[in-house]
Symmetry: C2
Subunit: 138 residues, 2 copies
């Protein structure tokens, strides 16, 4: 089990208290938090933290491949400590974003129509189990 500090070092990132706390938060909260959610959560233990730090840190985490991001809701970016390709489901009622595990569709490919593919994002939107009216569950 690599320490968070070592994982930063591996990516050529300098270690800092803030970076460790942000990475730790993402590792423990696989809820696809937004910048604001991360900020609000960390502020309690780390009242001096700045939102700019969150933005800068997430940017460097993204650039080094330490985390991934998604833009399923259309009006804000969400962050994810899971970096292996996987799909997401957005509930249009409660706003929850879930990881989709049962999709085995071969959408990971090197090119489409002659364009070089580096990332694939598969997003589902609809109503999650909890928001489906009783008796209409699938």
């Amino acid at each position: 089990m690599k320490s968070l500090q070592d994982r930063l070092k591996e990516k050529g990132l300098r270690s800092s208290y803030q970076r460790i706390k942000i990475l730790e938060y993402l590792e423990k909260n696989r809820t696809h938090p937004t910048v604001d959610a991360i900020y609000e959560a960390l502020k309690e233990k780390l009242p001096s933290i700045s939102k700019t730090t969150i933005y800068n840190t997430l940017k460097s985490f993204l650039e080094t491949g330490l985390i991934s991001d998604l833009t399923i809701s259309g009006h804000e970016v969400m962050y994810d400590a899971e970096t292996k390709p996987h799909s997401h489901f957005l509930c249009k009622s409660c706003g929850t974003v879930l990881d989709v595990v049962d999709i085995k569709c071969p959408h990971v490919r090197k090119e489409v129509d002659g364009n070089k593919v580096e990332e694939v994002h598969l997003y589902f939107k609809g109503l999650c189990k909890k928001c489906l009216p009783e008796g209409r569950k699938q």
Copy 2:
């Protein structure tokens, strides 16, 4: 060939000069324009048009299913007169968004993990043909 006016009427939308021009622009420009791109383009012929009108109009077009939207770039919404499900490719170099036509993957489904699916969005990101370095084309 239905007139734009008739297509608005069909959806229960009142016809107006602005709405016709916006729909016409989307029909003729399948480049996935942003609100700003539509505004800048229409301003020339229609100097009095307001950006709020573009927002309101696109919102009513979306609600009635006259157009579709996508958020592939992560920082702005794009609009598309094509309403049949199809995938998109974003070039991370030039920012162009292309329709993807050669994907036949069965990602249209009614549910995933017990959640009810209403929309599926498949986004590819990478380098488009034009931005690929010569000799590395695929």
